[in-house]
Structures are given as structure tokens and as C-alpha cells.
């Protein structure tokens, strides 16, 4: 869906994207940066500013108007957390099929309701509290800096934003470009879970390997490791887990990064990965080394 179809010249057609909250503080900065990257932003939505333009992008009053004018099926949303549920509902009801949800601090209950509405409308949500998605050299729907990423054949799936940049940068400088990178977000409930993100890319023939960047809290990593064993996925995978030394029962920055009893501990995740024969790096810079080892062995 993100890539679009190849046209006659063999290049991909750029998928139209709308920005909800285009004139806000973050919305405006990142709209500019996404445009610079080459993302095809066709419309913005800010109530009260319909009819105006931002960086030559027309602004509409509602998502519905922007969708009927442009046919866009993808939206990235920048609104304060309190208004997120309303914005997500509006997007899905207007026909958006992929919603990239940037806001941090969205109440869990609102996220769960947004996921329900997405399901009813046959749509997907990434986030909230996600840095977004990037297919290097093609499309960036998110707030990540462009510099860490380069085109290639490794997929990177991450709970954390800055670790996604850090590890992608480490991969890039070691010669491992990326085919797809996605931040699932640091919240307890994610529109797209680790396992869902993995399923999006697992069957791509060009894929050479997968890097999973996890952190303490929940059991997304354990579930994914089990899934990888169940489907007997054979391509090289390397993982990294942040929070090995974090104290228990304290939220470490992300709403979802908390160990309750043994639930969500790094030990549990590392044990499951090693059961699935997935090496876990101790430092971000160790990721490309382990990946190179796995690829060579193949």
C-alpha cells in the first residue's frame, strides 16, 4: 500500500498522504520535512483554516473533504493527545485506510476505541506514540530524521523512536540499508503490534533480514519470537532489548515501559529470543555485527 504500483518507467507512483493538524507546531515542521523527503502530501486538515494553503498544500476543514478532493487513503495525525480519538474516528469514517498516529500520552482507553473503529472500517493504525514509517528513498510518513536511513534490504521494527534512528544509522554505516522501518510506539497498546508489523514484511522476497528493537514492558517480543518459531521463518533476525537494568515497577519514559512482577522483564524477552535462535545485542552498535554473522552463516 505504501509503495503504490510501478508505473511505465519502472518507478513507484507516489501515494497521496494527508496531514491532520498540518498547521500545528509539530505538524507544520514535519510536513516541511516530509515534503523535502519526497512524500506526496496532497492535503492538510485544520478546522478553521479550510481554503488556505501551507507550503502549497491545500488545507481543508475536515478529513472527509480532503479525502474526496484527493482520494488519499493514508493520513498522518498530529493533534494533542486529548483530541486524538476524535481525529482518528474522523479519519477512519472518512475512508482513511492507514493512519500514522504521532501523539504521545494518548489514554489507553482512547487507543483501544480507535483500534475498534479502525477494525470496523477495515483500516490500519500505526501508533500512537510512533515515530512513523519510512521506506528509504521512497516515502517517509513520520517524524524521523532522514539521515540515519538508506535504501536496502533489512527491515527494522522498533518500539522506541530514537533507538530506531540509532540502530538504523548503525546498520547504514555498516552497509545494511533498509527496505522498511516502522516504529510501533512506546505505549502499552499499539494499533500495529510487533507481530503485525512483522507480518507486513515477512513475505517480501527482497528482504534479507529483520532487526527487532524491543524494550521492557508487555510481551510483544515474546509473542513475536513464538510466531517466528511457529511459521519457521528462516531469514536472519537480530534483536535488541532496552531496559535490561531498569528497576521494576517504574515507568521508564514510555507509558508501556514498565515491568510488573516478572511480566515485561528483559530476561523473559531475551530467553524467548534465544529459544527462537535469535541473537540479542547488548549494545546498539553490536546489532550490525550480529546481523553480519547471521547473514554469513546462511
Amino acid at each position: 500500500m505504501l509503495k503504490g504500483d510501478k508505473n511505465k518507467n519502472g518507478t513507484y507512483e507516489k501515494q497521496p498522504v494527508i496531514v491532520q493538524g498540518i498547521t500545528g507546531k509539530f505538524g507544520s515542521i514535519h510536513t516541511k520535512l516530509m515534503l523535502e523527503y519526497g512524500t506526496n502530501i496532497v492535503a492538510g486538515v485544520t478546522p478553521g483554516k479550510g481554503g488556505q494553503k501551507f507550503e502549497d498544500v491545500p488545507i481543508y476543514e475536515t478529513v472527509k473533504e480532503s479525502v474526496s478532493a484527493t482520494g488519499a487513503k493514508i493520513s498522518i495525525v498530529f493533534v494533542p493527545a486529548k483530541f486524538f480519538l476524535e481525529a482518528a474516528k474522523e479519519a477512519f469514517e472518512a475512508g482513511i485506510k492507514l493512519l500514522v498516529a504521532i501523539p504521545e500520552h494518548v489514554p489507553v482507553r482512547d487507543t483501544m476505541q480507535a483500534i475498534e473503529i479502525a477494525k470496523q472500517n477495515n483500516a490500519i493504525m500505526v501508533g500512537p506514540n510512533t515515530p512513523g514509517i519510512i521506506i528509504p528513498n521512497l516515502i517517509k510518513i513520520g517524524i524521523m530524521p532522514a539521515s540515519p536511513f538508506a535504501e536496502g534490504n533489512i527491515a527494522v521494527l522498533s518500539k522506541s523512536g530514537t533507538l530506531l534512528y540509532e540502530i538504523s544509522n548503525s546498520l547504514t554505516t555498516s552497509g545494511f540499508g533498509q527496505i522498511f522501518t516502522l516504529g510501533i510506539g512506546g505505549d502499552p497498546i499499539n494499533g500495529t503490534r510487533m507481530i503485525d508489523a512483522f507480518d507486513m514484511i515477512k513475505d517480501k522476497s527482497e528482504l534479507d533480514g529483520v532487526v527487532i528493537v524491543g524494550e521492557i514492558g508487555g510481551e510483544a517480543e515474546e509473542t513475536l519470537a513464538q510466531h517466528i518459531m511457529d511459521i519457521e521463518f528462516k531469514k536472519p533476525i537480530v534483536a535488541y532489548i532496552a531496559g535490561r537494568k531498569a528497576p521494576r515497577e517504574k515507568r521508564m519514559g514510555h507509558a508501556g515501559a514498565i515491568i510488573m512482577g516478572n511480566y515485561g522483564s528483559a530476561e523473559s524477552k531475551i530467553a524467548m529470543f534465544s529459544k527462537a535462535n535469535i541473537p540479542v545485542a547488548k549494545r546498539p552498535t553490536e546489532v550490525p555485527i550480529l546481523l553480519a554473522g547471521k547473514i554469513r552463516k546462511k
Binding site: 520535512l33 493527545a81 486529548k82 500520552h105 494518548v106 489514554p107 489507553v108 482507553r109 483501544m112 476505541q113 483500534i115 515515530p131 517524524i143 524521523m144 530524521p145 540515519p148 522498533s158 518500539k159 522506541s160 523512536g161 530514537t162 533507538l163 530506531l164 534512528y165 540509532e166 544509522n169 512506546g186 502499552p188 497498546i189 503490534r193 528493537v213 524494550e215 514492558g217 508487555g218 510481551e219 510483544a220 509473542t223 535488541y240 532496552a242 531496559g243 535490561r244 537494568k245 531498569a246 528497576p247 521494576r248 515497577e249 517504574k250 515507568r251 521508564m252 519514559g253 514510555h254 507509558a255 508501556g256 515501559a257 510488573m260 512482577g261 516478572n262 547488548k282 549494545r283 552498535t285
Partner: protein, 370 residues
């Protein structure tokens, strides 16, 4: 927020879930008065935001004044898993027939609420055997499902009716207060077949605090944590002497892990958020300057969009304004790193190309100064 037992019980009371007679206090004077009201025998329970207090000696029976005088001060002054006792709960002892486990929690992998119940309660959830598990969507537990669970536990007659009632009230509480976990462990069956919540644990969603002014009185925040939150940072204070600062929760956790691997002891976890600006770094240094135990600062910033020179000028400003006099070991990834190094040349901030180097440096520094 993680509510203390007595706070959870206040909410249980508000939702008409039966609890034993109990009163909380923070000094022995008040405790003595409470003892008179409750009457011997009773238990005194340490109020700490962490599990396992029974094993640690945080629950003591008192049959008379002597035992009370001895136990009260001891429990009040104890720390359990690094957490100081916040208050003491005096609670009437109850005679009961059976202990049950009951909780409703946010099931992160299934993305719904799940009820867990067991006829074998009174132990920590990991050890609870024969768990009865039901997924309940956004948290609403119907009479039918509650009755099924009651039957599986082995309840009938009046006890079954009581159980259905309590589970539905717990469900209402979970939904209305936006809790990620509500747990009654143990829920006990009394001789007359009625049920009583002997212990309670509630975790609410911090991100929903703006809708719950009524819960803010339970909020526990140090002055520094409150300041950090105001700046949009997240701060966890710890016992060590090296302040760990970075942008993005994952990156700070990662830095924290590597520092600990190398023998460093973190004094705090400080995440200044995804971006890094001159203001946010200066603000972070202001917070750290108020932590007395800090001997050195470890900074790990993945700039991306931000120029490192801007961050470097925040350090210089902090030294110029006498905000800090501490050595800083920094790794600033981003544009113009060479220029930043020149800017910081004659300051106490050392810049490194890799976080590993910065960590080695800071651990050596702290070891040197003791």
C-alpha cells in the same frame, strides 16, 4: 499511578466493595488513636508501592499495646525493595474460610481487558494456580460471564451472588477510573458466605490523569519529578551517582543498561523527549544541579535534526551561569559535531564519538573521585 493499598481500598469503598475496618496513619500518635478505634487484635501493614511486603516483614500482627509499640515504629521505618514505607494501615483481623484471587487487567498482547480469577488466592499472581481467564473487551463484565466465573471457582448460592456483584463493581471501577490493573488478592470468603477484599492493588493510566482530578490526591511525585513533568521530561530518581540524560525513552534505557554493565551507578533516568533543544538540555541540567548525590553527568543525544552546536552552547551557558560545576561526558550524534568539540574544549564537558567511550570516561571519573 500505582495506588497504595489504603488508597485502593478507599476506591473499593466508594464502589461498595466490602473491605475490613481499617485506618491509615503516618505517625505513631495517630496510630495509637487508630488502635483504640479498631481494637485488638489487628494487623499493621506497610503501605509501599511494591509487592512482596509480607515476606519482607511489612505485615505484623498486634495482640496488645506492647506489640503495637514495637511493630509500628519498625514497620514505619523499614524499606521494602528500596521503597520506604509511606504510611501504616491498621486493619481489623478477619476470620475467613477461603482465599480467592481476582483481577481485571489491561491485556497488552490481546488488546483487551482480561479477568483472572482463581480459587487459590493469597499468593503473588505468578504463583496463582488454576487461573480462570476471560477476555472482556473494554472492561465490561456481564452478569452471565461473572456467574460463569463464580461457578468455575466453585461458588454457589449467596456467595456466588456476592461474587458476581463484586466483580461487576470492580469492572465499573476499572472502566470509570481508567485503571490498567485492579486486583483483589486475597478476596476472602467469610463464615456467613459473604466476601471481603483483604488487599487491593490499583494501577491507573497516567495518560488519563487529565480526566481524573479526583485521583490526583493519590499522586506521589517528588518536587523534581513534578518539575520534570512540567518541562515535558520523564524522570526516575535512583540511588547512584551518575545522572543519565538522553532524548527518547529507548535511548536513555539503552544508555542506562550500558552504564550499569560497566559498573556505573545511575542517579537518575532523565528523558528530555524525542527532540533536543538548547532549552531542553539547559532545563535538564537545572534539574540535575538540584540532585545532591550526582558526581558526574552522562549525556547521550541522538540529534538527527538538531545541530549539536546548539546543545553544546547549553552546556557552556550552564557553566557560565554557575548552574553546574560537574563533569559531563557527552555523546552528541548529529550535525557539526567537530565544531561542538572545539566550542567545549576548555570546559568540563568532554565530547565523544561513541557512547561506549563516554561511558568508560564517566565511570573512570567517578571511580577516581570516589
Amino acid at each position: 499511578m500505582r495506588l497504595l493499598e489504603y488508597q485502593a481500598k478507599e476506591l473499593f469503598k466508594e464502589y461498595n466493595i466490602n473491605i475490613p475496618d481499617s485506618i491509615s496513619s503516618t505517625d505513631i500518635e495517630k496510630g495509637r488513636q487508630d488502635a483504640k478505634k479498631i481494637g485488638y487484635p489487628f494487623v499493621i501493614k506497610a503501605q509501599v508501592p511494591v509487592g512482596g511486603r509480607g515476606k519482607a516483614g511489612g505485615i505484623q500482627k498486634c495482640h496488645n499495646e506492647d506489640e503495637f509499640e514495637l511493630n509500628y515504629s519498625q514497620v514505619l521505618n523499614m524499606s521494602i525493595k528500596g521503597e520506604k514505607t509511606r504510611a501504616i494501615l491498621l486493619e481489623k483481623m478477619s476470620e475467613y474460610e477461603k482465599e480467592i484471587y481476582l483481577s481485571l487487567f489491561l491485556n497488552r498482547s490481546k488488546r483487551c481487558y482480561t479477568v483472572i480469577a482463581s480459587a487459590e488466592g493469597g499468593v503473588e499472581i505468578e504463583s496463582v494456580k488454576n487461573q480462570i481467564i476471560r477476555d472482556v473487551g473494554l472492561g465490561e463484565v456481564s452478569k452471565k460471564i461473572a456467574a460463569e466465573i463464580a461457578k468455575e471457582i466453585g461458588f454457589d448460592g449467596a456467595t456466588s451472588t456476592h461474587f458476581v456483584d463484586i466483580l461487576q463493581k470492580l469492572s465499573k471501577l476499572t472502566i470509570e477510573k481508567e485503571a490498567e490493573l485492579t486486583e483483589i488478592n486475597p478476596l476472602v470468603v467469610l463464615k456467613d458466605g459473604s466476601l471481603l477484599a483483604l488487599d487491593g492493588k490499583i494501577m491507573t493510566d497516567d495518560n488519563s490523569n487529565f480526566r481524573h482530578n479526583e485521583l490526583l490526591k493519590y499522586r506521589e511525585q517528588t518536587e523534581l519529578e513534578a518539575k520534570a513533568e512540567k518541562s515535558g521530561f520523564s524522570l526516575v530518581e535512583l540511588d547512584g551517582n551518575i545522572a543519565v540524560v538522553g532524548n527518547g525513552a529507548g535511548l536513555v534505557m539503552s544508555t542506562f543498561d550500558m552504564l550499569s554493565d560497566n559498573g556505573g551507578k545511575p542517579a537518575c533516568f532523565l528523558d528530555v523527549g524525542g527532540g533536543a533543544t538548547e532549552e531542553s538540555v539547559y532545563e535538564a541540567l537545572t534539574l540535575i544541579s538540584k540532585m545532591k548525590k550526582v558526581k558526574a553527568i552522562l549525556v547521550n543525544l541522538y540529534g538527527g535534526i538538531v545541530k549539536t552546536t546548539i546543545v553544546a552552547s547549553a552546556f557552556i551557558k550552564a557553566y557560565d551561569n554557575n548552574l553546574i560545576d560537574l563533569p559531563v561526558y557527552a555523546r552528541l550524534m548529529g550535525a557539526e559535531a567537530d565544531k561542538s568539540k572545539i566550542m567545549l574544549k576548555d570546559t568540563k564537558t568532554k565530547m565523544f564519538d561513541s557512547v561506549e567511550q563516554a561511558i568508560n570516561g564517566v565511570v573512570m571519573e567517578v571511580t577516581k573521585t570516589g
